[in-house]
Amino acid sequence: MTPTTTPQHFSGLGAHLPEHPEHLWRNPEPKRSYDVVIVGGGGHGLATAHYLARNHGITNVAVLEKGWLAGGNMARNTTLIRSNYLWDESAGIYEHALELWEGLEEDLGYPILFSQRGVLNLAHTEQDVRDSVCRVEANRLNGVDAEWLGPDEVAKVCPIVNVSSDIRYPVQGATFQPRAGIAKHDYVAWGFARRADQAGIDLLQHCEVTGFTTDGDRVTGLRTTRGDIACGTVALCAAGHTSVLLDQLGIAAPLQSHPLQALVSELLEPVHPTIVMSNAVHVYVSQAHKGELVMGAGIDAATGYGQRGSFSIIERQMAAAVELFPVFARAHLLRSWAGVVDVTPDASPIIGRTPYDNVVLNCGWGTGGFKATPGLGWCLAHTIAHGEPHPLVAPFGLDRFTTGALVDEHGAAAVAH
């Protein structure tokens, strides 16, 4: 049967649909060649495109995305933004990102609902307390806002946290970073995409990179599902799928791709004014603008590209959440989902040069790269434009696994997310 329905058929329902809003970006046909080709249209790829145009005037650029724009981890993360990491190298890049977040809405001319409601990282054991106080001091030395709060002060910041001493993992205190916050991840991606598109950069969706052509130590072109594309510089921003691309280039990198899950409750009235993270009991919670509780946990122990994780992780995470927040006991889970995150041995990203002269790498952000989106984009654009790693990303090169200069952010910096 051929569809004969016309809009008039619906007029009786009283539905006057508004005009379709303006498209935020074009859907151009791929050109045969670009000065810069960015593989991966997630937050990092789009931010890099924006800053290439904005800071360096480089606009003969394409972003190649195998699915729809920002449908990978950018669409799946829990949007926690903070910079209270332990080591100087991490504080450098994450604090740079946080400063950019603070002016991003204006820069993009687009709402991103950035809300600096602060983050509490709970300590449950004496060792947690020692590590946390140490991290607060390290943060302050790096100009990152940080405070140590006792249990009573924790309850003042977030009254619904159970700070009584007779629970399985009593709250012994918490670090507090007031400038931490959340943002609306889709709006962030769209804001960057819109700006990049306005600058003339081609955002090519459903364009999967399936191989490379090389000449000596240069990559000369990319094979894609929308034809071959020649390139000047290539920037890999493929997050959980980076290993698939590196295998094709014969580059060995210490990445393991794991499922990472998150979930939301039904919509509730505002009950949770801040962000609470607890590494020891493996849960973190914030309340989104619309009212749903957003919760995340840890990765599945086994690797996997399936964009689904084990139910047992969610069960454990819910048990921890209900103990810490007794008021959540009767909330219903609305939906859960998973992304594929690329984890490194020292829980820090890998950014910079590769054995190919004109290929730069950005990966290994694992469970925590959303917060870095503007900072990474800024520094990767600089790295591409100058052919030299930006000083803030220089410590994160692939060669650190050979030199031993790891940036070990495990545990000590409350590393999840």
Partner: protein, 87 residues
């Protein structure tokens, strides 16, 4: 809940098991001859295939024995025979 078949105990819930990573990384035959780059590769780099993967698993909350298995990382399904001992 996924069921995993232990070669000794039969199918058990996944929470009884622990993944031990790729079963395809032999200890260097001549460690003294390794360069820094070779060591980095041995210590840090592991295969990360999208597709069939040969892996160690331990039935840690059961018989506590190790076995090698093939699993498809796209579907998380165990696809090959489980073998006790060497991969």
């Amino acid at each position: 809940m996924q069921l995993i078949r232990c070669p000794w105990c039969g199918p058990r819930e996944e929470t009884e098991f622990h993944p031990g990573g790729p079963a395809t990384v032999p200890y260097p035959a001549d460690p003294a001859a390794l360069s820094d780059a070779d060591w980095a590769r041995f210590v840090f780099v592991r295969p990360n295939p999208k597709g069939p993967s040969r892996e160690w698993w331990a039935h840690s909350a059961g018989c506590r024995r190790w076995f090698a298995a093939e699993r498809d990382t796209r579907t998380h399904r165990f696809t090959g025979p489980m073998t006790a001992g060497a991969p």
